[in-house]
Symmetry: C2
Subunit: 419 residues, 2 copies
């Protein structure tokens, strides 16, 4: 299905993209909104025409190796035939019905079998649905109100958590306290004498705030935050929306041996079909059953069938290992290229979800220029947000990405000669 | 595709449904949650196996004429071939991508062409996403915080609007004021001297609160609430999530000639594919572009292609007229049956979205028993929530529904003899 990308092609001529941006501007505020809004990065195409495996094509026919995986969801590759066949088979039966289809039960059973800390599962459509549900469940179980979040961590785009304040009221944030990732003393300080009113502490599996170097969790911090939650009777929520099933086939803290109470999932659990989930322990089962949450499409059977096939295929193909291997080769190659061309790069985080920033580049000038050069050479990367390695990437895709990125470093060096 | 339903069949034996409920109980809190939870109505099957047109089949193979349309989304009928073909064609190109596909622009253009008060459109996944976005946009535009909602109205299931309080904090509701539907004096009274802090008033196109007789909007109320919003500088939000494209091909208040500022849509706009939208006027465009809202799957191109095909087919087939005609025949037949069997029924609301309750039945004993008898005769109705008439319903489906419902009244009379 894939072709060899001509890394010398000039992908900067984008008449179809320009025309669609113009039309979009008339009928969509700003022409685009949210995390896929490329207004700030004009060198990145806004509109994508098609995709297959670890490749995608913009609306002007330019081909790319995809290192963003649709910002996380597409873990097995675009158009995975096994997932799509399972979804299509369910669609022939029915999708959005008056009640759930049997696949809801199979999917919940699969989560409970796969995730160490899952005694039950619930399903929704957005990662934000799932993070919000975890807060509501924790509040219902504890009868408390406060939620602790790490400063700068992204947990969704509802008023209580969206990173930009427009239209958000003080009341939306009234029950939040902030701490510093990997710093349990900052949690104790934020809580102060309000321990009896803390419903939950939300943690990310590792620090993956866009625009910052990524940071692994300190295992001592993980154990300490678990112990602190037990001490004060608060729920520990592990936000696995972005990292789930990329670091471990199960909860991302399972390799640390640190159990959690509630876990929101979304992104990669259905290979791009819209699905989110919450899993939790028996301690939170009654509270989870006592809150009222729902959506018109939450029981959509096609997306659940895709989710079931995705979890099954991830295990069968040992995809986590494959993504880690690919990611390690990518890191080795990129770090070598950066050194060859004399750039101080910060290549941080797990191999499967790397982030590339440059030293002394606080305004992102170099990372934006680098991503533009990469796009021009057929490698789709983002200048600030972490990338995602696809399990569908072939060794050929990897070589193509490394060739294109080496060319991007070379072009960047031409634009910024060594002083 | 459809068969004649044997209305004498006993659909009360449901071994497969019972077994799935048992398995679900182990891995999902309460076995099911949200609006599709049938724990309170054991005579209604919980699990649905398949569907086609205006028919569906439970997991025990029992066939039903579908008068719920998946609680609203399935407007053109289950598995509509035109919608499914458009979705499948888009899937062959790509679905969840690094940016939107061109279909986003086409869909936004179609909303702007179709809806009188739409100068722009944005897309999401849940009706709750859309109602919440409208509040955020109104707050961003006005710099104010308070939102007025009608007492008992359903605007979604996020903490600020969910109808049940478990896990909801006082801060979640701190910026809400309540009024009575169709009573502009109650709006003025609720606002009092806080007019300068009112961001928006949310209204439903008609009163469709589950468990209550439905109530049409008084055109004078609609005009007065519009004038009051203009007087105080607040946004008028028409919550068309449930009724959108069932009463009018466009905004539900267009036939009244009353313009609105912001409209959340979902349910029927993509015939069951998960999609929601917000439309608004130019006055709110900059505010809409200034808020940060997003979701991993919001730009999913397959669901947008389904939405585009749905809006196109609804217009081409003149589906609103068809649903109204079917609904009027349904009403005539049901009211005649009720009279024949001597029941005082309240059959309220638009013909396309009727609600059937019984007089002197405040605990819903009669309506629950009636819906159980209807289910047993192959007619899928709900005892408390409004029903939805499918545009796919054939005259044969209609006859089948009326025969089954007449039998349900007869059986109800046998259980409750005339005194």
């Amino acid at each position: 299905m894939t072709t060899d990308i001509d890394v010398t092609a000039d992908r900067r001529q984008r008449s179809a993209d320009t025309e669609l941006r113009r039309r979009a501007k008339a009928v969509v505020p700003n022409g685009m909104y949210g995390h896929e809004n490329m207004n700030a990065f004009p060198a990145i195409p806004q509109f994508i025409a098609r995709s297959r495996g670890a490749r995608l094509w913009d609306v002007d026919g330019n081909e790319y190796v995809d290192l963003m995986c649709s910002w996380g969801p597409v873990i097995l590759g675009h158009g995975d035939p096994v997932v799509d066949a399972a979804a299509e088979e369910q669609r022939r039966q029915g999708d959005c019905l008056n009640g759930p289809a049997p696949v809801m039960v199979e999917l919940a059973e699969t989560f409970v079998e796969t995730v160490a800390d899952a005694d039950w599962a619930m399903f929704a459509k957005n990662g934000t649905d799932a993070t919000t549900m975890c807060c509501t469940i924790a509040r219902a179980q504890t009868g408390r109100t406060m939620i602790l979040v790490a400063e700068g961590a992204y947990h969704g785009a509802a008023p209580w958590c969206t990173p930009f304040p427009a239209g958000v009221t003080a009341a939306d944030r009234a029950n939040l306290l902030q701490y510093q990732f990997n710093d349990v003393a900052s949690i104790r300080a934020a809580v102060g004498d309000r321990a009896g009113d803390v419903a939950a502490i939300i943690v990310s599996p590792f620090r993956h705030d866009a625009g910052y170097d990524q940071e692994f969790v300190d295992p001592t911090f993980a154990r300490d935050v678990r112990a602190y939650c037990d001490e004060i009777g608060a729920a520990l929520i592990l936000d696995d929306v972005r990292a789930g099933f990329r670091l471990h086939h199960g909860g991302s803290w399972e390799p640390l041996g640190v159990p959690v109470d509630l876990t929101p999932w979304s992104k990669a659990i259905a290979n791009g079909y819209p699905l989110a989930a919450v899993t939790g322990t028996d301690r939170y089962r009654d509270a989870a059953g006592g809150i009222f949450v729902t959506g018109s499409f939450w029981m959509g059977a096609v997306d659940m069938a895709a989710g079931l096939a995705t979890l099954t295929e991830l295990a069968r193909r040992d995809s986590v290992s494959r993504m880690r291997d690919l990611g390690q080769h990518l890191r080795t190659g990129i770090v070598a290229s950066a050194e060859r061309w004399g750039f101080d790069v910060h290549y941080t985080g797990p191999a499967q979800m790397p982030n590339l920033l440059f030293g002394n580049d606080s305004d992102y000038e170099l990372s934006i220029a680098f991503s533009a050069e990469a796009q021009a050479r057929g490698v789709y990367v983002h200048p600030k947000h972490n990338w995602f390695v696809s399990a569908a990437m072939t060794d050929g895709d990897l070589d193509m990405a490394l060739t294109g990125l080496d060319g991007a470093f070379a072009a960047l060096r031409a634009r910024y000669p060594r002083s």
